[in-house]
């Protein structure tokens, strides 16, 4: 699926640019965007290093384990087959909490770490496990209590009530999360995923 989307973006773009005669800007975009991608990744190093250091302390001190045990009744249904004290659970919870609090920068390192832990449980390493897909469904629906960036944008644009969109945002994100998780459940059974880690 990702392969198809990727290919469509490239080939579709090239065909259109041939028709419109926009080959020169497209070539420029190819060059600058590959440079930009590296810039973004390098820019991530600082924040990733910081939060993964913090994550290690949270792991060693037992904070992650406590957090996952507290939340276990809630999330064990969402992620069946993950052992109770497994670090995958703690990292997923930290990622979701960081997203909820609107700390995008902190969420990514925990999310990537969670994927690494889920991959340890995965039986077919090239193939996404059902639990990974559920995690991504929740993650991309981005349950978000404080849309800090948007509020800042609205303040900058001179809004009289910059936070009035918080309620609608929370409601919309809750609905999209519920839909994503339900569709995920349906497809999980449809695909006969009997092994949630496989």
């Amino acid at each position: 699926m990702v392969n198809v989307v990727w290919l469509v973006l490239i080939i579709g773009g090239l065909v259109v640019s041939a028709v419109h005669g926009t080959m020169i800007p497209v070539t420029q975009a190819i060059m600058t965007s590959s440079e930009k991608a590296v810039e973004i990744a390098l820019g991530f190093i600082g924040i990733m290093t910081l939060w993964l250091g913090m994550a290690r302390i949270a792991e060693e001190s037992g904070m992650m384990r406590t957090l996952s045990r507290l939340m276990n009744p809630l999330v064990s249904r969402l992620f069946p087959g993950i052992p109770k004290d497994h670090p995958a659970m703690g990292n997923m919870l930290m990622n979701i909490s960081a997203n909820v609090l609107g700390m995008g920068g902190a969420a990514t390192p925990f999310g990537l770490k969670a994927m690494e832990e889920l991959q340890k449980l995965n039986t077919l390493k090239e193939r996404a496990s059902a639990n990974m897909i559920t995690f991504l469904a929740i993650n991309t629906a981005s349950i978000n209590l404080i849309p800090a960036t948007v509020i800042a944008l609205r303040v900058a644009a001179g809004s009289h009530n910059p936070t009035e969109i918080v309620g609608p945002t929370i409601l919309a994100t809750t609905i999209s999360s519920l839909v994503a998780v339900s569709v995920d459940r349906l497809l999980r059974y449809w695909h006969h995923d009997t092994n949630p880690n496989g």
Binding site: V2, V5, I10, G12, G13, S17, H20, T22, P25, A29, I30, S33, S34, K36, A37, A41, M48, L50, G53, A55, R56, I57, E60, S61, M63, G102, P109, K113, M115, L118, E126, R127, M132, I133, A137, T140, A141, S142, I146, P147, V150, L153, R154, A157, S159, H160, N161, P162, T163, E164, I165, V166, P168, T169, I170, T173, I175, S176, V179, L187
Partner: protein
């Protein structure tokens, strides 16, 4: 009241965690600094590992955008979407939001400046921007970092979730703020 609390949370969340995690570790007898450094080492590797996936996705997106294909798609879709009550002005935002966080932020900024943050379009754009994520980017990055090639039904699930979020934002904004 609620607004003040939200402000307090967003200001304090990061400093609180940066203080609380090491303090908790220290009280539990963890050698906090050494542990921090050993975990932090991974940050570098992880960021470097992201590069191929970021290059792949950003190049494809920029080809699509710079060629004018995205504009054609938007023009093509704004008619039918207008029929179901989605204003044409937010169509670019809806199409770009799952693909690129930076571009979506740029579009939202533009809409807020042009229509005003307290207009119907301004409020809807704010809600859409805040309530969804850069799905395509997250999926390639997260699966890419662990070498999973077969993503199976992950993308459809996430995109259906996004679609539900967009529709919800349109309906909720109209209910709360009026048409």
């Amino acid at each position: 009241m609620l607004t003040r609390w939200l402000d307090v949370i967003s200001v304090w969340a990061i400093p609180f965690l940066i203080g609380f995690i090491p303090l908790y570790g220290w009280l539990r007898g963890v050698k906090v600094y050494e542990t921090f450094v050993s975990g932090a080492e991974e940050g570098f590797k992880m960021a470097i590992k992201m590069i191929p996936f970021l290059v792949g996705i950003l190049v494809a997106l920029n080809i699509f955008q710079a060629s004018g294909a995205l504009d054609s798609l938007i023009r093509f879709l704004s008619g039918p979407l207008g029929l179901v009550g989605i204003p044409a002005a937010v169509v670019p935002l809806i199409l770009i939001r799952p693909l690129s966080g930076g571009a979506a932020l740029g579009i939202t900024t533009g809409l807020l400046q042009h229509f005003g943050p307290d207009s119907a379009v301004g409020r809807l754009a704010s809600t859409i921007q805040g309530s969804t994520d850069t799905t395509f980017y997250v999926i390639t990055l997260y699966f890419g970092s662990i070498g999973v090639r077969r993503t199976r039904y992950a993308l459809p699930v996430a995109l259906i979730g996004d679609l539900a979020g967009f529709i919800a934002a349109v309906v909720i904004c109209r209910r709360v703020f009026g048409p």
